[in-house]
């Protein structure tokens, strides 16, 4: 039983979020309108509680694939960004017709039509899924936690707006998601077939001794399937439609939560290999994926007339940048590679950039969500045209966040890109192809500036259209402000986060341990053991 207790010890934050989701679901159906309005507060409370438990609660002592610091880092990042996302989304349920009418007393409260509780419950479930992904030590666990991330988001997209477009995008999202799940599940079965284990630590030790092509193919398929979560080529097709169709707070949610889960899952899968893939098919897969993702994202971003679609393609492009850091891999063991400090550690760069990108893009989406045009959310470039004259504060946040996405020097995105591309350069000794990838990435950054500057141009130099009116959602403004300030302040003084990311990413690759010894006492017949 100690094994079970030990496994439970690591997941108290997730259990808290699960309980919180149940409470939210019940509160959303309460009789009194004032009680129902408490749901978002309760969700925030449970989110903070799970953050406290992640730091101060019992820590898992064994059975982790990722180092415990990295698990803690990702959990805290999920809590911190989750709070910002909750601020963005807090007033969203009030904008739905049925909920609104029930709250204003126009219609009697009908439990069947009001989705407030479900929205926040799914919100918490999805965050719990990301946390569970970090503690995954079994293929089945990894699969279930990735699904726990995605399944709630399908419903969140479908119910996020009272428009048919939201449902259309949810259907697209769901079916393409199911396809992606099939692909990575096929990969998982091949990994199991090649090694005979679903337990990841045993897969790791089995992979250290035999080089099975089935294992390679399994990991390749798994990565391709997971590229749906991170919105990378070849599974990026849904991104623009879904980001545009969902309500802006849900879009911001999609830009951070599944992406983080996906990258954590890919890090877990790649650490199954005897060493980080710097050569061979998996390296080339990631190389091509990174180059294509960046290029497709940025080129398509140039062609858009909708700000939300532009930001969606920007999300694809940033997945490409993140893949560059992922490919560079953990810090070099020898100091001769030129990798000193955080630069040179691709995993640390990915962990850092996930937060940096999240804050920048959530800020931009929050600003969009604060503006209303003809009774619906701002979407096209015309909608935000001349934003600076009416709402100088919102326009300033948009300016800062978008410049951070471009990667201009004092801001958060700049530091993130330096670490991503710098770590790839530091690893050029292992494979010269990394240099070309960095060249592609830098060229892409330059191209991306064009459409980012179009957003700023529309905000500051466009003719104000008289149709825009502010949305009544104070917490969304606070979230936008928090993102704007964080992007500037952490860009100037973000060393703490960089240090955290670096400390958290001492990846335990089996090549640093002694792989041969582990295998001898683990026979393939012992599948049901442990």
């Amino acid at each position: 039983m100690s094994v079970m207790a030990d496994k439970l010890a690591g997941v108290w934050p997730e259990i808290t979020l699960g309980l919180g989701a149940c409470v939210c679901m019940a509160l959303g159906l309460a009789k009194a309108s004032s009680t129902r309005k408490l749901t978002s507060w309760v969700a925030g409370l449970f989110l903070l509680l799970s953050g406290v438990l992640a730091i101060a609660g019992p820590q898992p002592t064994s059975g982790l694939i990722l180092p415990p610091q990295m698990v803690l880092y990702v959990k805290l990042a999920v809590v911190a960004v989750g709070v910002v996302l909750l601020l963005v989304a807090a007033q969203l349920p009030s904008s739905w017709r049925a909920t609104h009418r029930a709250e204003e007393g126009i219609e009697p409260f009908d439990p069947a039509n009001v989705m407030r509780g479900e929205f926040f419950a799914f919100f918490l479930f999805s965050l719990a899924g990301v946390m569970l992904t970090t503690t995954a030590n079994d293929l089945v666990w990894l699969f279930l936690s990735l699904e726990l991330v995605s399944l709630p988001t399908y419903v969140m997209v479908a119910t996020s707006q009272d428009r048919i477009r939201a449902q259309e995008s949810a259907v697209k999202y769901f079916f393409l998601g199911a396809l992606a799940v099939a692909v990575f599940l096929y990969g998982f079965t091949l990994i199991y077939g090649a090694t005979g284990f679903t337990d990841l630590s045993r897969v790791q030790s089995a992979a250290a001794t035999t080089t099975s092509p089935l294992l390679t193919l399994g990991i390749v398929l798994a990565i391709v399937g997971i590229s749906f979560k991170i919105a990378a080529v070849p599974m990026h097709f849904y991104t623009a439609d879904v980001y545009q169709g969902a309500a802006t707070p849900v879009t911001a949610f999609l830009a951070f939560v599944p992406k983080t889960a996906g990258f954590v899952a890919i890090i877990i899968l790649l650490s199954m290999l005897p060493q980080w893939p710097t050569h061979g098919p998996i390296m080339w897969l990631l190389w091509i994926m990174a180059a294509l993702t960046m290029t497709v994202g940025n080129v398509m971003g140039l062609l858009q007339t909708s700000v939300k679609r532009t930001l969606a393609y920007s999300s694809i492009a940033h997945s490409g940048y993140l893949l560059v850091g992922l490919l560079a891999g953990p810090a070099l063991l020898t100091s001769g590679g030129g990798g000193s400090g955080a630069i040179g550690n691709g995993i640390a760069a990915v962990l850092f950039y996930l937060v940096a990108y999240a804050l920048s893009t959530i800020g931009a989406f929050a600003v969009l969500g604060c503006v209303q045009v003809d009774g619906h959310e701002a979407d096209s470039f015309d909608d935000i045209s001349g934003l600076s004259t009416k709402h100088p504060g919102l326009a300033a946040v948009m300016l800062v966040c978008v410049l951070s996405l471009v990667g201009l020097p004092p801001l958060l995105g700049f530091i993130g890109k330096i670490y991503l591309f710098g770590s790839a350069m530091a690893h050029r000794g292992e494979n010269p192809a990394f240099v070309w990838l960095v060249v592609v990435a830098v060229l892409n950054s330059a191209v991306s500036a064009v459409y980012y500057l179009r957003i700023i141009g529309a905000c500051y130099f466009g003719k104000p259209s008289g149709r825009t009116e502010p949305q009544h959602c104070p917490s969304r403004r606070i979230a936008a402000l928090v993102c704007g300030i964080a992007v500037v302040v952490m860009g100037v003084a973000g060393n703490r986060l960089v240090t955290l990311a670096r400390e958290s990413s001492q990846l335990a690759q089996p090549s640093q341990q002694t792989p041969a010894k582990v295998v001898s006492d683990e026979l393939p017949t012992d599948i049901h053991g442990g």
């Binding site: 039983m1 149940c22 679901m25 019940a26 159906l29 009908d110 439990p111 069947a112 077939g193 090649a194 005979g196 035999t210 099975s212 092509p213 089935l214 193919l217 393939p524």
Partner: protein
């Protein structure tokens, strides 16, 4: 033993031959079945053969009939309890085999009661949501 197949194959084939064989089997199986049924199956045509259901069932109404979506919700609620039984059954068979004075008894019972409680919550939620109300 089946799990060792890749290793055996690797010894004699090239690196990715296993994958090739797998793909080949998949293709041959799919195409082969189509070809065999085309060759061996009797092909009869006629008005009865052209009916909607090959099993011989008579189609009663057009397919575009409206029906109550609530059916699905009830079916899904049923699934919740169905899955619960799947977990309850193995527990029920192993629970009596625990020693009488074992401290694990209470723990095991408590866990299962907690699990049942989660289902009760789901049931109450569905009730409040009006799933069981037919009007």
């Amino acid at each position: 033993m089946i799990l060792m197949l890749p290793v055996l194959a690797e010894a004699s084939f090239n690196q990715f031959a296993v994958v090739g064989v797998l793909l080949l089997i998949a293709i041959v199986f799919g195409v082969g079945n189509l070809v065999i049924s085309k060759l061996m199956g009797p092909s009869r045509e006629g008005p009865i053969k052209g009916l909607v259901y090959e099993s011989g069932m008579n189609p009663i109404t057009p397919a575009r009939r409206r029906f109550n979506v609530r059916f699905y919700v009830v079916a899904m609620t049923f699934l919740v309890f169905d899955v619960e039984i799947v977990f309850l059954y193995p527990w029920a068979t192993t629970f009596p085999s625990l020693a009488q004075d074992s401290p694990l008894n209470v723990l095991f019972l408590g866990r299962m009661l907690f699990f049942v409680l989660t289902t009760v919550i789901a049931f109450l939620y569905a009730w409040r949501k009006g799933v069981f109300r037919y009007d």
